[in-house]
């Protein structure tokens, strides 16, 4: 891939997501963009992070992108491969700092749905994948980050099914439900970066990507986005050097960061 091409939206998401990772963290990774972001982070500002996978692999020798979270690239010469129950157990015990999840729908409190679209469980419009490890990751890791494309349907007034609990109904409701962990701290989309207002726990604009106005972000949302006081910063974009690393070292075949032609 030519390095002169302008940055595309998927590359932007991958970059922004990578910036959510701090050095020294242990992080839950799935396939796709979170994987790209995590590898980019490891190759740039966060060399001491450790990747863990729900299927049991930990800290594999990096070679290629995994095509499955059970595949060999998730446990290539791992020091340890855990049983699935143990893998989640370590997150419950406080050994995993961060997790990354996608969503089909997400609401203003960061409750996310990967179960179904429709109003009737036994006869959905579309059955999605179900939880897999999503509910466990959202319930157990210290800090949760969502990533996905943003539109009015995906940013839903009400999700059709809560697969992954966010801040539930806001306020103290998450804590009262008995959940152990911090809950979602950020949502990264094609439009911007969101966090959650500390008291109400409603989704709040943190930064918007270049060219995205608050009005445009709001148009692409089914619920009202909280606007912070003052001007909204523009999301930092990747430098040329980082784009090069992303394109040449992280995903050289462009599987995850090329837009379908």
């Amino acid at each position: 891939m030519s390095n002169d091409k302008p940055m595309n939206p998927l590359e932007m998401i991958a970059y922004v997501l990578s910036r959510q990772i701090e050095d020294n963290e242990v992080i839950y990774i799935g396939t796709g963009l979170p994987m790209v972001a995590a590898i980019l982070a490891k190759k740039t500002h966060a060399p001491h992070i450790t990747f863990v996978y729900e299927s049991g692999g930990q800290d594999p020798e990096q070679l290629e992108m995994p095509w499955s979270v059970g595949g060999p690239m998730t446990w290539r010469k791992s020091p340890i491969i855990m049983e699935m129950s143990y893998s989640f157990g370590q997150a419950a015990a406080g050994m995993v700092d961060k997790g990354f999840l996608g969503f089909a729908q997400i609401d203003m409190y960061g409750n996310a749905n990967t179960h179904m679209i429709g109003s009737e469980f036994t006869n959905p419009k579309v059955r999605l994948t179900g939880s897999g490890g999503n509910n466990d990751v959202s319930s157990l890791v210290d800090k949760l980050i969502y990533v996905g494309l943003q539109d009015q349907n995906k940013f839903a007034k009400k999700v059709d099914f809560i697969t992954s609990p966010g801040w539930l109904e806001g306020g103290e409701s998450r804590k009262n439900a008995g959940l152990l962990n911090n809950g979602p701290v950020a949502v990264i989309t094609s439009a911007g970066v969101y966090d959650f207002e500390p008291e109400t726990h409603r989704m709040r604009i943190k930064t918007l990507h270049p060219g995205v106005s608050p009005e445009l972000a709001q148009l692409a949302s089914g619920f009202e986005l909280v606007r912070p006081a003052g001007a909204i910063p523009v999301t930092e974009t990747p430098s040329k050097e980082i784009l090069q690393i992303l394109r040449n070292e992280v995903d050289p075949s462009g599987l995850f960061i090329s837009l379908p032609s």
Binding site: G70, A92, N123, R127, G130, G132, N135, D136
Partner: protein, 364 residues
């Protein structure tokens, strides 16, 4: 035993006859089944046909093993389909291989945790079948909750508490789960009660086993150690049957003990078309075409599986379809390189998406 199910979940799932739920959590009957077995170290070798005929009954709770495309006992599963077993309850974390079993009437009920193709997206075939009532979800899980249920079964716990599932709609769609106060805490501390779960039958594919059933494998165990201990009937398929000495003197030893096992089937390529650690790469041609055709339409889907499952008598015929010995040698090198055991230089892992008209050479 009479069981006390989550009533809201029963309503949401529209389950009236709860008797079909009982066996999964009936730990006493699982114990009885285990006690009744001959516990001796004896020759348990038999053919795949015999093992499936004897140990899989219509209506059984069948458990998938390992992780969808990785070391799953897919050839054992295909034999279940070929033998026309009916109305199984499917369970597994993930439970992705169930989906084509629904098409053949092999699966009628499911304990759902994940059905899909990971980064290739959702499983439209499963969604269609669910809408049409060909398969019913009778309990909905996360991977972690199900893993705890399996592990509880292995460790002699009738149930356990979890901090997963809280606040989600999963607990309203699973008759086995209940929100309960932590008995240790004076303060409010809601937990999810998860019962130990006991499949009727699991087939587990491993790298090596001895004739008694002591089994050794590489790569992730996922839930296999737990489900082998929990399931009423366990079939081992393996790449090779080794001597008991080999199991004893190999540094890794066995991960599954013989006393869990009913049948040992020597079945090289038993995880194909999936990936087998240290042995062979997944058949990418198969999977890419499968995902594409199964998503496209019911007819395409049927055409695909009629060729690959119903159109083959055994795994060797499947391998011939994707290149025979050529595939074997290439696939072996690719798997070993992926795992860092063979030289990676010159081995390609490049990913290609299926397009109509492609053949094995385009996606090997």
């Amino acid at each position: 035993m009479n069981f006390d199910y989550n009533q809201e979940a029963l309503k949401n799932l529209k389950i009236e006859d709860t008797s079909l739920l009982d066996r999964l959590v009936d730990y006493r009957s699982a114990r009885e089944a285990h006690l009744k077995k001959d516990h001796s170290q004896r020759d348990k070798r038999m053919s795949l046909h015999e093992a499936v005929a004897e140990y899989v009954q219509d209506g059984d709770i069948w458990c998938d093993s390992s992780f969808s495309y990785v070391r799953s006992a897919i050839q054992g599963w295909w034999e279940i389909i070929r033998q026309g077993k009916k109305n199984l309850q499917a369970i597994g974390s993930p439970n992705t291989n169930q989906t084509y079993g629904v098409m053949y009437g092999t699966v009628s009920h499911t304990h759902a945790s994940y059905t899909g193709a990971e980064m290739r997206g959702i499983d439209k075939m499963f969604s269609r079948n669910l809408k049409e009532g060909k398969v019913k979800i009778i309990s909905d899980w996360s991977h972690g909750l199900m893993a705890q249920g399996f592990k509880a079964a292995q460790l002699g716990m009738p149930g356990c508490f979890s901090k997963q599932g809280l606040g989600s709609d999963i607990i309203n769609h699973n008759p086995y789960l209940k929100v309960m106060q932590n008995p240790m805490s004076k303060d409010s501390d809601p937990c999810v009660f998860v019962p130990a779960i006991f499949p009727d039958v699991v087939i587990i594919h491993v790298n090596a086993a001895d004739m008694y059933g002591n089994a050794r494998f590489y790569g992730p165990a996922v839930n296999d150690i737990a489900t082998a201990a929990a399931s009423r009937k366990v079939i081992i398929t393996c790449e090779e049957i080794v001597s008991n000495y080999d199991i004893r003197y190999h540094a890794k030893g066995a991960q599954i003990p013989f006393n869990n096992i009913d049948a040992v089937v020597e079945l090289p390529f038993g995880a194909a078309p999936g990936y087998m650690p240290n042995e062979y790469y997944w058949m990418r041609y198969f999977w890419e075409k499968f995902f594409s055709w199964a998503n496209e339409s019911e007819e395409r889907c049927k055409e695909f599986f009629d060729e690959f499952i119903m159109g083959t008598k055994n795994v060797n015929e499947l391998i011939e379809k994707v290149g025979g010995l050529d595939w074997v040698t290439k696939s072996r090198r690719r798997a070993k390189a992926a795992e860092g055991n063979n030289e990676t230089d010159g081995v390609s892992f490049v990913y290609k998406i299926w397009e109509n008209g492609m053949d094995v050479k385009d996606i090997d």
